[in-house]
C-alpha cells in the first residue's frame, strides 16, 4: 500500500496543480463576468436584465458537462476561427460562465442590501445613477460580496473535476489514471484525492468564515 502511495503522490500533486491553475483563472474571470451580470440585474436595466435572468436559469438548470461540450465541441464546429478552442481555454470559459451565475447572485444581493435610503439621498443631492453607484453603493456592496466568495471558490475547485472529459489531467482524473494502474488500491487513491481537495478547500472556507465575521453577511436571494 505504501509503495502505491509513494508512486502516485507526484502525479496527484501535478493534478492538484492543474486544478489550482484552472480554479484561480476561473475565479477571476468568473467574478468579473458575474459582477457585470449581477450589476445589470441589480440595476434592473431593461432588456439585458431579462436576458441575463434567462442565462442564469438555463446554466443553473443544465449539467455543467453540457456547457463544456457546447464550448469545446460545438462552438469550434461553427468554423469561426477565434472559436477554435484548446482544452484549457475551453474549460476555463465554460467554468467561468457557470461561476458567473453564482457570483451574479451574490453581487445582486450585496447591492440590494445597501440601504436604499443612501441612494435616495445621493440622487437628491444631484448625483447621477453612475456616480451613485461608484461612490456610494458599490464601495459598501463590495465589502459584503467578499464572504460568500469563499463558498463559490470551493464550488469551482470541486467543479473542475468535470473538465477531465476533454482531457485535462486535473486531480480526479489523475486519481482515475492511478486507479487504472493500481486497481486494487482504488479506495486509497481516492482517499488521497479527497485529502488533497481538503488541503486546498478547507483553508479557503476558514478564510471566508473569518471574512464573514469581520464584515457581516448578506442574504443571497433570487
Amino acid at each position: 500500500m505504501l509503495e502505491v502511495f509513494k508512486a502516485t503522490l507526484p502525479f496527484l500533486m501535478h493534478g492538484l496543480w492543474i486544478t489550482f491553475q484552472i480554479s484561480v483563472v476561473t475565479i477571476i474571470s468568473g467574478s468579473l463576468l458575474g459582477f457585470v451580470v449581477g450589476l445589470v440585474r441589480a440595476e434592473r436595466i431593461p432588456v439585458l436584465s431579462l436576458v441575463f435572468g434567462g442565462y442564469i436559469h438555463v446554466l443553473r438548470g443544465t449539467p455543467f458537462l453540457v456547457h463544456l461540450y457546447f464550448v469545446y465541441f460545438m462552438l469550434p464546429a461553427t468554423g469561426v476561427s477565434w472559436l477554435q478552442l484548446e482544452a484549457f481555454p475551453a474549460a476555463v470559459i465554460a467554468l467561468s460562465l457557470y461561476t458567473s451565475t453564482y457570483v451574479a447572485e451574490v453581487v445582486r444581493a450585496a447591492i440590494e442590501a445597501v440601504d436604499p435610503g443612501q441612494t435616495e439621498a445621493a440622487r437628491s443631492v444631484g448625483m447621477s445613477a453612475v456616480q451613485n453607484l461608484r461612490h456610494i453603493v458599490l464601495p459598501q456592496a463590495v465589502k459584503l460580496m467578499i464572504p460568500p466568495m469563499g463558498g463559490i471558490y470551493v464550488i469551482i475547485i470541486k467543479g473542475t473535476s468535470i473538465v477531465s472529459v476533454i482531457g485535462i489531467s486535473e486531480l480526479v482524473r489523475a486519481g482515475e489514471h492511478a486507479a487504472q494502474r493500481h486497481p486494487s488500491e482504488l479506495m486509497l487513491i481516492y482517499g488521497m484525492v479527497a485529502l488533497m481537495y481538503f488541503v486546498y478547500c478547507y483553508p479557503v472556507l476558514r478564510l471566508a468564515k473569518w471574512a464573514e465575521n469581520k464584515i457581516g453577511r448578506i442574504q443571497t436571494e433570487h
Binding site: 507526484p10 431579462l50 462552438l75 477531465s164 472529459v165 476533454i166 482515475e176 489514471h177
Partner: protein, 265 residues
C-alpha cells in the same frame, strides 16, 4: 412565469442557431496531416492494456504504440488528444482529432456515423469473479438473483442483455477499475471485461479468477469521420503492412494476450 417561458424560448432559439454549425467540411485530411506535419489522434485513456498512463507517468498501451508507429512511418509528429469516453466521438467528429484510436467495436449502428477500419484485433469478452463462489464458467453467473457489473456505456451492456439476461446488470461509471472494485467489495457477483483487462485484474486481486468461456469475440477498430476515405484506406493499409511484417502480432502478444506489460509498465 410568462417571462421565464419567453426567456427560455429566446435562449433555446439562440442555442439552436449556434448549434447549426456543421462539422468541418473536408478537404482530404491526409493532405492536411502532411501539410501541418502533425498527426492528431484522439485516445481514450480507459485503462490497460489499450491506452493508459503507466506507473512512471508515461502514456502507453497497445493503441499508443500503434499510433506512435503510425506517426513515425508517416514522417510526422504525433499529437495525442486524451478524452473521456463521452468526449471521444465529438473530438473526431468536430475535427479536433484526425482519427480515433481506441478499442471500439464497429457495430452496424455505429458505422452509420463514423467510418471504421477493418478490425485490427479480435478480443474475447470474459467474466471474472471471486474464487470460492462456486462459479466455473460464465453461464454459472447468468442466473436469476446474480449481479454482473459492467462499465457504463460499454458494448458489453448489450451483450449481457442478449446472452445473460437472467442476471441483474449494473452499469458502473468510472471504468474497468470501478467494476473490479464492485466485484471486490461484493457489490456484484461478477464483472465483465475484455480478456486482457480481466487478466490484469486477476493479478491485482489475487482472490479473483477468470471464468471459463468467452461470451463473444469483439472486433476492435480505429475510426475516422465518415467521409475521410483516404485516411481510412491509409489506416487499413497500414494495419495490413504491420500484420504482414509481424509487428502487429508482436504488439498484440505483448499487450493484449497476456500480462507481460505489467512488468515494465
Amino acid at each position: 412565469m410568462k417571462r421565464f417561458k419567453r426567456l427560455l424560448a429566446l435562449s433555446t432559439g439562440i442555442l439552436s442557431l449556434a448549434l447549426m454549425g456543421l462539422p468541418q467540411a473536408g478537404a482530404d485530411v491526409v493532405e492536411d496531416i502532411v501539410k501541418r506535419g502533425e498527426l492528431r489522434v484522439a485516445v481514450q485513456t480507459q485503462g490497460p492494456p489499450v491506452s493508459f498512463i503507466d506507473k512512471n507517468g508515461k502514456r502507453t498501451g497497445f493503441a499508443m504504440e500503434v499510433i506512435e508507429m503510425m506517426a513515425k512511418d508517416m514522417g510526422v509528429k504525433l499529437k495525442v488528444l486524451d478524452y473521456d469516453w463521452k468526449g471521444l466521438i465529438p473530438a473526431v467528429r468536430s475535427g479536433k482529432a484526425d482519427f480515433l484510436a481506441a478499442d471500439m467495436t464497429p457495430n452496424a449502428k455505429r458505422t452509420l456515423v463514423l467510418s471504421f477500419t477493418a478490425p485490427y484485433l479480435y478480443s474475447d469478452v470474459v467474466l471474472y469473479a471471486k474464487k470460492g463462489m462456486g462459479f466455473k464458467s460464465w453461464q454459472d453467473v447468468c442466473k436469476s438473483g446474480k449481479t454482473v457489473a459492467v462499465v457504463q456505456g460499454s458494448s458489453n451492456v448489450g451483450l449481457l442483455k442478449a446472452k445473460c439476461s437472467a442476471a441483474q446488470i449494473k452499469e458502473f461509471a468510472g471504468g474497468g477499475p470501478a467494476v473490479a472494485q464492485a466485484v471486490a467489495a461484493d457489490r456484484a457477483d461478477a464483472g465483465i471485461n475484455d480478456q486482457a483487462s480481466a487478466a490484469g485484474y486477476v493479478i491485482e486481486y489475487p482472490d479473483f479468477q477468470v471464468l471459463d468461456g468467452a461470451l463473444k469475440s469483439w472486433p476492435l477498430s480505429f475510426a475516422t469521420r465518415a467521409d475521410e476515405t483516404h485516411l481510412l484506406r491509409w489506416l487499413d493499409n497500414y494495419f495490413m503492412l504491420i500484420r504482414n511484417d509481424g509487428r502487429l502480432d508482436k504488439l498484440a502478444d505483448y499487450w493484449m494476450r497476456g500480462p507481460e506489460w505489467k512488468k515494465d509498465h
